[in-house]
Amino acid sequence: MNYGFANIYWRDMIRFVRFRTMLISSLLQPALWLAFFGIAMSSSFDSLMSGVPVPPGAHAVGYLTFMAAGIIAMTTLFTSLFGGMIILFDKNWGLMREILASPMPRDHVILGIGLSGVTKSFIQATIIMVFGILIGVGFFVGFSAAEIALAVAGILIFVAVFALGFLFLSAGIAISMETPEGMQGIITLLTMPIFFASNALYPLDAFPAFLKVLSTYNPMTLLINGIRYFAIGDDFVAIGKHYVYTTGDIVFSFAGLVVFALVMYGFARWRFSKAVVT
């Protein structure tokens, strides 16, 4: 068996650790979002929604808890979409020639980048969860140690599949592009609708019908469903809306993410098969 992907992973992680500015900023950014945006917004929302009745069996959570799941998803999205940038740099600096002319199967580049991106997302998601709990995010409230371990594992599995999907997309774009500026433009173009047409910061109920459909199947929404299910529970009230997640909802969300990741893997493989690097 060829373990070329592990080699690509090893190199990308060396770079991640060596680029201290990138490392620190990527870890600080989600914490800052949570600290500033989260706390500011939660003060406003929580006072507005304080009178909303909580149905029996459900528990109320503050806005900070509600949006913390969105921050994990947002961070994973950004990290993953930029994860393929190394491929573009390698292509422009000639390193990709060494890799593509080697006997290592080309899909291992995609897998290696995917694996390192997932590792980075795991680190970030863990930091957000720990930092969030420290500043008042109500994750895993009333959970036993075993339940917390299970819930964290569930969250990370959702994060992994979601991250892989966007890392594959990013790799496919990177191998097709010529300049970092072009890639940056495409990433910015993708980020806005994916983030805002999701349930990261607000519920989807008030969306117009077409946007609601789009948002329901948005991989970002599917990920956030999974995170909220594992971190908050299957029955809770947040910003005036009653959320109930059934097992079927979560299986659907996970299956949707798996399909998304597989399609993106196919896209990346196709782009790599067409790659001309000279």
């Binding site: 060829n2 373990y3 070329g4 592990a6 080699n7 090893w10 190199r11 060396i14 770079r15 060596r18 680029f19 600096w93 000639g94 390193l95 020639r97 060494e98 890799i99 593509l100 002319a101 080697s102 006997p103 290592m104 199967p105 001309v276 690097v277 000279t278």
Partner: protein
């Protein structure tokens, strides 16, 4: 007397064509490299060398023609081709933020070298390219020459069927170049076929079993170094005269003169016979026609002369890391 068996071909190229938009970089090239040879591919910049190499190492898809490497068709079995070849690229292709050791380790892993073999080879190569004391230094802190040496070490990590060396010793000092030549010979003796491009004519002369000269996307001539030199005649005479144009016309009528062409301030004369015997006749004929001679130089043809003769261009060395620049021979084709 028994006849030597014909060596089998390890690289074959038939009628290869490649165009970038309207510009035809390669125009119907065919060549054969035999197993165990050192084959040199010479040509001025823009002649089409890199396009041919990129096609052979599967980085470019063939547009027209056919090519096989190590018995595998580059279009149909690119993966098998990649499993059979190693490459030293002309450009520096090092990750600036990896150390010397990590670069070699990464490369060894790319080729699935077993761990022990990889580690032994790395130590051997660090000594060869004299980078042992830099093994934990990131490549961005290396000098240009050190980077080049590391590139070569990387290319020599694996023992594959064919090793492509694209201007391998560009920018190296003479001592290191000679050490590299020795190592290339050693790798070749161990059974690896070498496909070399270089603009150092002495390098091609010293190392090659066979040489092809390419220009404007076409192969002009192929042969061993002595075969190519012989095509220029036995000796080369350089003359500076009072009237070079008239002298050229006059000398071309002499039966012992193979060709006479203008070069810089003088004339390059190739002769069929021993130059020392022809030279007095040349001097006599020029004087009879009132043409005085300022400078005379007689030498055996070198690969430089061969290159200049067939491409009409001369390669000069540039500073390390840059390609050679081309100077058109005055009066050359």
């Amino acid at each position: 007397m028994t006849q030597q068996p014909e060596k089998e071909a390890i690289i074959t190229v038939e009628n290869l064509e490649y165009a970038y938009c309207d510009f035809k970089a390669v125009d119907g090239i065919g060549l054969t490299v035999k197993k165990g040879e050192v084959f040199s591919f010479l040509g001025p910049n823009g002649a089409g060398k890199s396009t041919v190499i990129n096609a052979l190492i599967t980085l470019l898809s063939l547009q027209k023609g056919k090519a096989t490497v190590a018995g595998y068709d580059v279009s149909r079995d690119p993966q098998k081709v990649r499993e059979s070849i190693g490459i030293v690229f002309q450009e520096i292709t090092l990750d600036r933020d990896m150390t010397v050791w990590e670069i070699l380790e990464f490369h060894g892993k790319l080729y699935s070298m077993p761990r022990n073999e990889r580690r032994i080879r790395i130590e051997e190569l660090l000594d060869l390219v004299q980078l042992r004391n830099k093994r934990d230094i990131r490549t961005k802190y290396l000098s240009g020459g050190m980077k080049r040496r590391l590139e070569i070490a990387r290319g020599l990590m694996t023992r594959l069927k064919v090793l492509f060396l694209d201007e391998p010793t560009i920018g190296l000092d003479p001592q290191t170049r000679m050490r590299m030549w020795d190592y290339i010979r050693k790798v070749n003796k161990e059974g690896t076929t070498i496909f070399l491009t270089t603009h150092y004519m002495d390098e091609a002369d010293m190392l090659s079993d066979q040489i092809s000269i390419i220009d404007n996307g076409r192969i002009i001539i192929t042969g061993t170094n002595w075969q190519l030199k012989n095509t220029l005649g036995q000796d080369i005479i350089y003359l500076e005269t009072s009237d070079n144009i008239a002298a050229i016309q006059l000398l071309r009528t002499l039966p012992s003169v193979k060709d006479a062409t203008k070069k810089f301030r003088g004339i390059l004369v190739s002769v069929h016979k021993d130059g020392t015997k022809v030279l007095p006749k040349i001097i006599e004929r020029l004087r009879e026609n009132g043409i005085s001679i300022d400078t005379v130089n007689l030498k055996k043809p070198s690969m430089d002369d061969v290159f200049v003769y067939y491409t009409g261009k001369e390669i000069r060395d540039d500073p390390p890391g840059k390609n050679g620049t081309l100077t058109h021979r005055p009066g050359g084709s």
